[in-house]
């Protein structure tokens, strides 16, 4: 895939990808953009070997999710993610309750919920992105829904 083709592919889908990462990062859009850039560079570097154009988006989301996990791992020894999220970030105020509720969900549940409800991915595609089984995704979604209802309800009260 040439650079122009790659940019063309990304241009149409970057907004949804960034929105997904912003929700995953609980509203830190600057961090989400950094992770998106890192993920897209990684994708570009391995795009020569990529064979299925129809799965391009799912592939990008998978790389983005892995970059997010790597970022969390590097953050963990010094600062907790909750502490990092205490820093005011651009655009966080409007969705404060949702971010707070999402932040209390385990990463995998949060990702599964976002991919399912926000991006409209099917369970099978989510399983590919998260590198897990379809049954596991169904469980994640079920647990995630219950947890989100509890946490979001609590945030609103």
């Amino acid at each position: 895939m040439t650079r122009e083709q790659f940019i063309k592919h990304v241009e149409g889908n970057q907004k949804a990808f960034r929105r997904f990462l912003a929700a995953l990062c609980c509203g830190d859009s600057a961090l989400a953009d950094d992770i998106a850039q890192e993920a897209l560079i990684k994708a570009y570097l391995s795009s020569d070997g990529f064979q299925c154009p129809e799965k391009f988006n799912a592939w990008i989301y998978r790389i983005g999710y892995n970059c997010f996990l790597n970022h969390r791992r590097t953050l963990r020894p010094s600062v907790s993610y909750d502490q990092a999220l205490d820093v005011p970030a651009e655009g966080r105020a409007d969705n404060e309750e949702l971010y707070a509720a999402l932040n209390r969900l385990p990463e995998k549940e949060r990702t599964a919920l976002l991919l399912f409800y926000m991006e409209g991915y099917a369970v099978k595609e989510i399983a590919e992105i998260l590198a897990t089984s379809v049954d596991a995704v169904k469980q994640l979604l079920s647990r995630g829904r219950t947890h989100l209802k509890e946490k979001y309800g609590r945030e609103r009260d």
Partner: protein, 115 residues
């Protein structure tokens, strides 16, 4: 909170993000830098292959020439009355070969190289 409410909640979700053109400009710059690094690495790999080839050729040539001169070297060393006489000419050939290979490698990597 019902299923529909969750769907609506995420449908309404619009985080404040940097403008698209800003993100795409940054991405294009990053990809251009990646491309530059890729090209530079490919050039360096090709150059290093040429340098290795030249150093090998130089070593081989000097090795052949010194091997041809083994009788003369042996006579010269015999006159010096050094120990290990049968081995010394071949050790000299090996030393010359190694030295010429390494010198050619260093020279080709230096600023004076035409590569």
């Amino acid at each position: 909170m019902e299923e529909n409410e969750i769907k609506e909640l995420f449908a309404r979700f619009e985080p404040e993000m940097a403008p698209d053109f800003e993100f795409m400009n940054r991405l294009e710059q990053n990809l251009a830098s990646v491309e530059l690094i890729r090209q530079r690495s490919a050039q360096l790999r090709a150059r290093s292959r040429r340098v290795l080839l030249i150093a090998t050729c130089a070593g081989f040539l000097v090795g052949v020439l010194t091997t041809l001169a083994v009788p003369q070297i042996a006579a010269l060393l015999a006159a010096l009355h050094l120990p290990f006489q049968p081995l010394l000419p071949w050790l000299t050939v090996a030393a010359f070969t190694l030295f010429s290979s390494l010198s050619a490698y260093d020279f080709m990597n230096s600023d004076y190289s035409l590569l």
